[in-house]
Amino acid sequence: MAIIEARGLTKVYDGLTAVDHIDLEVEEGEIFGFLGPNGAGKTTTIKMLTTLLRPSEGWARICGYDVVRQPDLVRRSIGVVFQEPALDDQLTGRENLDFHARLYGLSRREREERIEEVLRLVGLRDRADELVKSYSGGMRRRLELARGFVHHPKVLFLDEPTLGLDVQTRRAIWNYIMELNRREGITIFLTTHYLEEADKLSDRVAIIDRGKILAVDSPRNLKDRIGSDVISLTCSEPSRLGRILESASWVRGVKHHGGGLSIYVEIGEEKIPEIIRMAEENGIRISSITLREPSLEDVYLSFTGRSIREEAKPAMRHPRPRGWR
């Protein structure tokens, strides 16, 4: 049985469909990546799965419990690290953990042992008795991560766990996440718009765009789907060259991005001379050309037709009423 299961899960806000009939199956023990640009519906999905929002349609079960009808049993089985920090910065790190552990009904002895354990795992033991106010962004994230699994959840939800962190801190957080998954066997459901993060951490990735899931598979299989090699080039007339290449039988796909093209092919090193020949015959000047293995970026591009970086601009948020409701 899947530990997270959803069918036709939908959320409509004021006529705007944020999440559009998605189906999900996450197996116990896996790290499941939910990849998509800002505004794709990732956070809304997490809020429905964690009982904070009621779905407009469809259902979801965590550990077999329905998120609408059995919210308490769901809440007992999960840990959540939200996108925005959710710590009380007038309390110390240890007090934040203790507050949480009590809310989940851990006994005094369990609390003392477990809090030491999670603090060690995220490397915050020396700073545990300082006010969270004095913590850096990375320390806060680590503390929230620790808090997310203090109570031995079956599933840990991480909403953009490394958003706004520098590269080094991000890598450190990744290691903690993998360590956690390995040592405690916790199923992890994480959302991200960082391709590298989804690629590095996830056993399986779901690509979500405009509220719909476009593909679900392991990063390896997703990349294999679009071909074994990617040729990227910049040239004088990308749209015309694109049309010419699309008609070639050995081209599995062509995508435009910025001022260039990505061409998905097999045995790319043999295709480069061919592409150059075709461009010259048509009087198109190629200014650069590279061959590489497909990345998740290419996968994303091929499924959505857009680069995720172009999408990562100011978030398209769901409109929220201001002032009085």
Partner: protein, 254 residues
């Protein structure tokens, strides 16, 4: 399960207390206003005589219970409304995703808010005694009962408002445009008997009047209304605001 809910009430209460002790600036800010009124207005107008001020009760004696009530009402409102800040800073989600009922969360928060505001009220009371206010020792316990009811009423009101408000700025507007006039109209500053007839009607319609009258009656032995009427009105108002707070909070989404 009952023990988990009690635990939730306890941690919510404890958190308010810890924050209260740590954020001294707010404590001082909350105490300064009633203290200044007490010291400057109370000592400055000490020899004044107003209709309704009985023999042997100075203006300072009259004003002190009003300032105790004011500090409790304002501090409790603030404690209730601070849910907005929890929402703003994300901490509310951490609480709402925990496997405890929202009722326990509201109860814990109400008890926490009431505790810290009553402490503030008692500090003002102690300062009044230092300034020479004559308090009736026998009225202290009933006075504290009125203070507790005042605190519950105001925390409930604050939580209800916070559940309907998205923007923390709305709160200062409410404090300035509604709560300040309400405290002036509550007999905290001048007796019911000295008010013009139309003001008196407003005062009777004002919940704070019953709070102030109840606390004053107990502490200095001079009721304008009657202890039982004060108690009955306050008990019903408390029930209403606390139920409204619990209901609206349990329905609010993050």
């Amino acid at each position: 399960m009952i023990s988990l809910e009690l635990q939730a009430i306890y941690v919510m209460w404890m958190r308010q207390l810890k924050r209260f002790v740590r954020v001294r600036s707010r404590l001082i800010a909350n105490l300064v206003q009633p203290f200044f009124f007490l010291a400057f207005l109370g000592l400055g107008l000490r020899p004044i005589s107003l209709p309704g001020l009985v023999e042997g009760v100075s203006y300072l004696d009259f004003l002190a219970p009003g300032m105790v009530a004011m500090s409790i009402v304002f501090a409790s409102m603030f404690a209730g409304v601070s849910i907005i800040w929890d929402r703003q800073f994300g901490f509310l989600k951490e609480i709402l995703v925990a496997p405890v009922s929202r009722l326990s969360i509201v109860v814990g928060r109400t008890l926490g808010g009431a505790t810290v505001s009553i402490i503030q009220g008692l500090i003002i009371l102690a300062l009044s005694a230092l300034l020479g206010v004559r308090l009736s020792p026998a009225g202290l316990v009933p006075g504290i009962i009125f203070m507790i009811l005042a605190a519950f009423f105001s925390v409930g009101l604050g939580i209800a408002l916070a559940s309907r408000m998205e923007d923390p700025h709305g709160f200062s507007l409410i404090m300035n445009l509604i709560m300040m006039p309400a405290i002036f109209l509550s007999t905290a500053f001048f007796p019911l008997e000295s008010m013009a007839a139309w003001l008196r009607i407003l005062a009777y319609a004002n919940p704070l009047t019953y709070i102030v009258d109840g606390i004053r009656g107990c502490l200095i032995g001079r009721f304008s209304i009657s202890p039982l009427a004060d108690l009955a009105v306050l008990l019903s108002l408390c029930t209403i605001t606390m139920a409204a707070g619990a209901y609206l909070f349990s329905r609010s989404e993050v």
